[in-house]
């Protein structure tokens, strides 16, 4: 049975129909990759699931019950943890403060030592290269911030984790660790939604691939039954696209490597 | 440009006509002193009601803002008033209002403060400069009697208030030749008692026991000065006031404040109602004297000290013992025979 399933989700921003009639199912212990072109509506979908935007229409079913997710706090309570594409960190707070924001240890007399120790643990696990956890997030590099945002989502005890382009800014080592992490999450029986533009990563960890195109469903594929080319043509809506042209040209010129 | 009217036109304005159901504007300057809302306005309204039961009084308070007062005057003219009684925020700037009113044949009566630049139709007042002089002189006389030696502090009113300037001038005219040294003086921003208190506190550390008296330009700042001495834990020297607020009467009864000044507001307010009513009927009342080219009537205020507080404030009915002699002040009242 699905932990999370969406039916008929639509969302309009002003004159732009960002999502139209979306369906999606995520099982426990399953990694669903959501892919799509820029502006396809992936992040909008994520924001609807995590209570940032209310949907205009459609139903969300979580663990068999139909739910409303009016606020991010409601999503937290349900057990949905999210890493947003725009990270959503407080730049004026330091790494520890951001990691534990809203889930502080000993709320009436914060336990800084425990939080700092745990922070180092989490960051080490993601092989983050952060010199000090006591600097404001404003002073971190793009990848360091992304690591902090990912580490954040692991606190608490989520049932579904949504990762919106989690590896976009990460270095090669950190990317590898995040992919490891996703696999561990799957083994622990969590549902994982991962959004990515990197087909290699998608093929490496996902079980199912859901394609969005211009705000609509454009196919769901089991990952071992589909080729990268098929996914790309579902994304772009054509088999003849910039990617395939570039690949051909590359082959024509030197017989080269395209991911 | 069209027409001759400065300010606004509108409504059927002008002197004469049917005085019944007419409107008269009563424009007061500020809220720094409580008297305008608490005494002048009700007294004027009562008298007007008595003279002309169907007339309507338009009361406005300009909250120390000359342009707001201009707006209020224009609005009154737009409503078709038959006369304006105005206590100008700024005596000079009120000239514009006089012009507007007169160009629409609405008579205008200067109340409390004169309008020297453009003569109004009438001027009724006690004179602020005189007030300053009276309170200061009363203090100086008292100090001489006590054979005090030392200097005086002077707490003036707001530096941006023209009336305060007049009072200040009056105080100087009494203090400067008195032989007492003027230790320091201070223009209290917005007449704020807190500011007066802070300043006097500073002067207490500076001059210690040289201070034999404080001339404060109104009861609020006087109260601030007294609080400063109390808070410094030293003896309170004689402190003046002005306006005869209830709180000041209490302090006088208790011996904390030396004097205040009672303006015969009732008399002035009623006199102005009378004059306004005559104008509204189309008559031209004659002045007792002429000041600033304006037919005028001036009244003399009375200095109130512990000696005469009973007769000036209570026997005359300006204040009721029940309001003043509360709690800790009951004893003082008893001693003075106030009931």
């Amino acid at each position: 049975m699905s932990v999370l399933s969406l039916r008929g989700i639509s969302k309009t921003f002003g004159a732009v129909a960002a999502l139209t009639d979306i369906e999606l199912d995520v099982d426990a212990g399953q990694v669903v990759a959501v892919v799509g072109d820029n502006g396809a509506g992936k992040s909008t979908l994520v924001k609807i699931l995590s209570g940032v935007h209310p949907p205009d229409a459609g139903t969300i079913t979580f663990e068999g019950r139909e739910v409303h997710i009016p606020t991010p706090a409601a999503a937290h309570r349900l057990g949905i943890a999210t890493v947003f594409q725009d990270l959503a960190l407080c730049e004026n707070l330091n790494v520890i403060q951001n990691l534990f924001l809203g889930q502080e240890i000993r709320p009436l007399r914060l336990n800084d030592v425990a939080m700092e120790t745990r922070s180092w643990e989490l960051l080490r696990q993601l092989s983050a290269k952060i010199p000090s956890v006591r600097v404001p997030v404003a002073a971190l590099s793009g990848g360091q911030r992304q690591t902090v945002a990912i580490a954040r989502s692991l606190l608490g005890d989520p049932k579904v984790i949504i990762l919106d382009e989690p590896t976009a800014a990460l270095g090669v080592a950190q990317t590898a660790e995040v992919l490891n992490l996703v696999e561990r999450l799957r083994e622990n029986g969590l549902g994982v939604i991962m959004i990515s533009h990197n087909m290699a990563d998608v093929k490496a960890v996902a079980d199912t691939v859901a394609v969005l195109r211009l705000g609509r469903n454009n196919g769901v594929f089991a990952v071992d039954e589909v080729t990268t080319e098929d996914i790309i043509s579902a994304i772009t809506g054509a088999t003849d696209n910039a990617v395939s042209r570039r690949a051909q040209r590359g082959q024509g010129a030197q017989g080269g490597q395209v991911s | 440009a069209c027409g001759s009217g400065a300010g606004s036109t509108g409504g059927d304005t002008g002197g004469g006509g049917d005085p019944q159901n007419a409107k008269v504007a009563f424009l007061m300057p500020d809220l720094a002193s409580t008297r305008y809302e608490l005494q002048d306005k009700p007294l004027f309204e009562a008298k007007m009601k008595q003279l002309c039961p169907t007339c309507e009084v338009i009361y406005q308070n300009a909250d120390s803002d000359a342009s707001k007062q201009q707006q209020q005057a224009n609005s009154a003219l737009a409503q078709g008033v038959k006369a304006i009684v105005i206590d100008p925020v700024d005596s000079a700037a009120a000239a514009t209002i006089v012009k507007s009113a007169q160009s629409q044949q609405v008579p205008i009566i200067a109340y409390d403060r004169p309008i020297p630049a453009t003569p109004a139709d009438y001027y009724i007042s006690f004179d602020n400069e005189k007030i300053g002089q009276l309170i200061a002189q009363s203090l100086v006389d008292h100090l001489k009697e006590e054979k005090a030696e030392g200097g005086i502090l002077q707490v003036n009113g707001s530096p941006t208030d023209a009336a305060a300037g007049l009072i200040k001038k009056g105080i100087h005219s009494a203090v400067d030749p008195s032989g007492f040294k003027l230790l320091a003086e201070y223009d209290t921003p917005d007449w704020q008692p807190e500011k007066a208190q802070t300043w006097v506190s500073g002067q207490i550390t500076q001059f210690k026991d040289q201070i034999v008296g404080v001339v404060a330009a109104n009861d609020g700042t006087g109260g601030g000065a007294i609080a400063a001495f109390k808070a410094a834990g030293v003896k309170v020297p004689p402190v003046t006031g002005n306006d005869a607020e209830i709180a000041a009467a209490q302090r006088i009864i208790n011996g904390d404040q030396y004097n205040t000044i009672s303006k015969p507001i009732k008399i002035v307010a009623e006199a102005s109602a009378n004059v306004a009513w005559e104008f509204m009927q189309g008559k031209k009342p004659a002045g007792k004297t002429t000041l600033y080219d304006t037919p005028s009537e001036l009244f003399v205020p009375t200095v109130v000290t512990k000696e005469n507080v009973k007769e000036v404030l209570f026997d005359s009915g300006i204040m009721k013992a029940s309001e003043v002699c509360t709690g800790e002040y009951a004893k003082g009242c008893d001693e003075l025979g106030i009931k």
């Binding site: 002003g14 129909a17 | 009217g5 000359a66 737009a78 514009t96």
Partner: protein, 410 residues
């Protein structure tokens, strides 16, 4: 030309064309909460109806003429405030600067007997210099503008008292051109109507040329019908206003002057590179800097503008009162000017607001003040009611803005 213009090719966009399209656009934006000034206008209409019900003189021509004239001085100051708020800064000293400017004007003109234009020029120049100093302090030392202008508020109040000296108050001669301009000079009826026609014609011509250019470039454009409807509507509104005010004294030149300043600022803010950089600095100063904008120059220009407008406002206020005194510019000038800008939709955090906002905002504030003046209330009640009405006027606006954020617009 393609059937679908370049900017409408995305299939996720709802399509709409012509007058119908323009209308459905408005409805769309209303649903999305992006109503521009409409909510403020609605708020204004509510206030007007209530006051009119309470005292029928409120909407009389005479009172509205007063209202326009009384709006001008603080309105001009609010225009400057809009500029500083747009870059996310504040100027608390506009009141003092306007007071000082009035005092300098009076002293030079009356006290020293200089020609009036010299006195005006000196006051305005002084305003500009003050703004320039603010800009330097802000850019050099990075002192928050709140503190700089708070210091300015105090210092220039001191200067004002000093300049006026022992006099305390100086009358401007009633027969001087300046006072006439502020009190007695009204636009002749024929000229007012001409202005109205010119404005409507301009709106149409400008819109038409723009639309033609866009069509040529293959972009969507307003249909000619829409343009005609818009201009005719404008003409009707303006003609009615002119006619109604003309029932008594008409449209004052001082108000025309204010409106002209609003139009100029609107042009500068929306159609020039400088205006763009003001919005950019207010939106994200670091991004603006990285785009190669001279951020310091923008800050300085804005502070100079604001202080200059404050000085101009001070001159207008002095002319209107025919006097400069120690309390000119004191009291609630600061708060009213800032409130007018905020009510007109300018954000205190920078990057959002328009010149027209200042016009609307000051009219809201003056309406409240004028309406309450007519009601003849006790001071205590008047304060309470002023507060309540102010709040109501803004709630209308804010509710719509709120629905905008929930619809995902910034």
């Amino acid at each position: 030309m393609t059937a679908v213009t370049t900017d409408r090719q995305d299939e996720r966009l709802r399509q709409s064309e012509g007058l119908r399209g323009a209308l459905s656009d408005v409805v769309e934006r209303a649903r999305g909460g992006d109503l521009g000034v409409i909510p403020v206008v609605v708020g204004l209409i509510v206030i007007w109806s209530v006051f009119q019900a309470l005292n029928p003189i409120f909407l009389s021509s005479a009172n509205l003429v007063n209202l326009t004239l009384e709006s001008a001085a603080v309105g001009v100051i609010a225009l400057g405030i809009v500029c500083v708020l747009l870059v996310g800064q504040i100027d608390l000293s506009v009141g003092s600067v306007s007071g000082l400017s009035g005092a300098v004007l009076a002293v030079l003109f009356v006290g020293q007997g200089l020609p009036v234009w010299v006195a005006i020029a000196a006051s305005v120049l002084m305003g500009a210099v003050i703004g320039w100093v603010y800009g330097q302090l802000f850019n050099r030392f990075g002192v928050p503008s709140f503190v700089i202008t708070l210091a300015g508020l105090l210092a220039f109040l001191g200067f004002q008292l000093y300049v006026l000296g022992t006099k305390g108050s100086i009358n401007l001669p009633f027969d001087s051109g300046l006072v006439n301009f502020a009190q007695l000079d009204f636009v002749p009826a024929w000229l007012s109507y001409t202005f109205a026609v010119i404005a409507a014609g301009w709106l149409f011509a400008g819109g038409y040329l723009h639309a033609r250019q866009r069509r040529k470039a293959g972009l969507s454009a307003r249909s000619t019908t829409t343009l005609v409807v818009r201009s005719v509507a404008l003409l009707a509104v303006l003609a009615f206003v002119v006619w109604y005010l003309g029932q008594t004294r008409g449209v004052g030149w001082m108000f025309v002057f204010f409106v002209a300043l609003v139009l100029i600022m609107h042009y500068l803010l929306s159609r020039t590179k400088w205006g763009r950089s003001v919005y950019a600095v207010g939106g994200n100063v670091e991004a603006a800097r990285r785009a190669g904008i001279n951020v310091r120059a923008v800050y300085t220009s804005v502070f100079v503008l604001c202080s200059t407008f404050a000085a101009v406002g001070g001159i207008l206020a002095a002319a209107r009162l025919a006097a400069a005194n120690q309390s000119s510019g004191a009291g609630d000038v600061n708060l009213n000017a800032i409130a007018a800008a905020v009510i007109g939709g300018t954000s205190l955090f920078g990057g959002r607001g328009t010149a027209f906002g200042a016009l609307l905002g000051i009219i809201v504030i003056q309406s409240i003040s004028s309406g309450l003046t007519l009601l003849n209330l006790d001071s205590s009640i008047r304060f309470v009611v002023t507060g309540a009405v102010l709040l109501l006027a803004v709630i209308v606006d804010s509710v719509s803005r709120r629905s905008r954020t929930s619809h995902g617009r910034a």
